[in-house]
């Protein structure tokens, strides 16, 4: 049995909702700033 971390990284705070489904640069809707 080989146990390992499949993938990991430092995430950016710019994308709180992780809304990356469509291959977009970022999502202005979920990132909506008041």
């Amino acid at each position: 049995m080989k146990l390992e971390v499949k993938c990991a990284g430092k995430y950016t705070l710019a994308e709180p909702c992780g809304c990356l489904r469509m291959g977009e640069k970022s999502c202005p809707g979920t990132n909506k700033i008041k």
Partner: protein, 465 residues
Amino acid sequence: MNNTNLNTIFISRDVFSKLFRIDNKPPLCVVYRTISQIVAVLEGDSAEVWTRIFESNGQFDHALEYILNHGQFTSDPEIEAKQILIEFLDSLESQGIISSVSNLSSCSLTDSSGFDAGRSTERMINLFMADNHILFNLVIELTYRCNEHCIHCYCPSNRNRQELSTEILCELILEFESMGGFCLQLTGGELLIREDIKSLLNFLCNRGLVITINSNLNLLDDEHIDLLKKLAPRSLGCSIYSAKAELHDSVTRSPGSFDRSIRNIQKVREAGIPVVIKTLLMKHTVYGWEDVEALANRLDCYYQFDLNITAKNDGNRQPLDLRVRDEEIIKHLFTTRFKRLHQNDEPLEKSADDPKSTPICSAGAAGLSISPNGEIHPCIGLPIKLGRYPKDPIEKVWHNSPFFESWNKLRLIDIPMCKECQTVADCFRCPGAWFVENGDVMLPNDYTCFISKIAAKASLSHSLC
């Protein structure tokens, strides 16, 4: 790591972990470590073993039992199982998921080194959740009431609407969790204005959710800070509109709000909580954006700007007059800050090869949004009513609403204006913004196209340099 310290490991309170079991697929585990901004994915046996370590708070008995029951060994199973576990722990430690010491120091938010360049991990997570229709993200607008009165705010003019009670909100969060929910964003209005906010935060302290909070922090007290430390949120977003107090206060129409926000941002950072200073850029504040970025750097906060002023959720178009229309300053933004993010520090996601065949947007792909009175929307930016909580349980809406299937079929190529567009790859579209402005998710506003054309030019000119 050696055998002598294979008794227990330290799992910091900012480590959050959730295991997802899908029929006929290996289990997948998502791990966040919020103070140091680490996200990780484990699969199969690795997910099973880690979950046993995490759920027993760093003890190894159940993990070793799993390895012994599922592994294949050549000589002494117990020694080999232990060795497998030690190597796994080394790998977890090297990725920053666990520590051999109880160190909960905050990392610098202005240090851009080491970011996951392709955002591959979070991308993988969100694709997994969307493909399996798991409600992974939830935004709750706790109230539309606010102590500030910002000139551009998208919240509806009538702020004193009915709000979900503490009990109903707790039930909602439990239902979200039971459906696979892991990432929860709390916003307003100003959520600290809710009389029960401390009870709610206290309830959330024990839930194991990755929390993001938006607040202007003006009403923050020491008890809030203690609760935030326990919550270990992914980030706390605070809007600062200008580095000049007077200009900021003229936007919020709340004298003294700049000083209160800055003072409390400092307190929150001292408590080790990641803070994002957010700036919605307006026609009269945009020229000071670099000063706000410098202020964020001085306060060791992450900085994020946005040009996307939208109509109010009730359709009122008054805020649109504040949009930045100066092409030169927008181009400057794109060729400096944005380009830096896009190409160096934190490369933003590139558009697909054929952007016109990509979905129109990801609303409802793996998340929902709840308004203060319980209306269920596919996204905070797309106020299409899918139901109303608690009359409509979110599980029922999530699995039965016809919205999701029809929305997922929409492609950019279906939008007449986008079909022939040459700058679609640089588009910052938000069908929600089009919906509140034009009443139609398929009718782009002129500002989206205006910005995209500048972005495209900036991109071209930069590559020619």
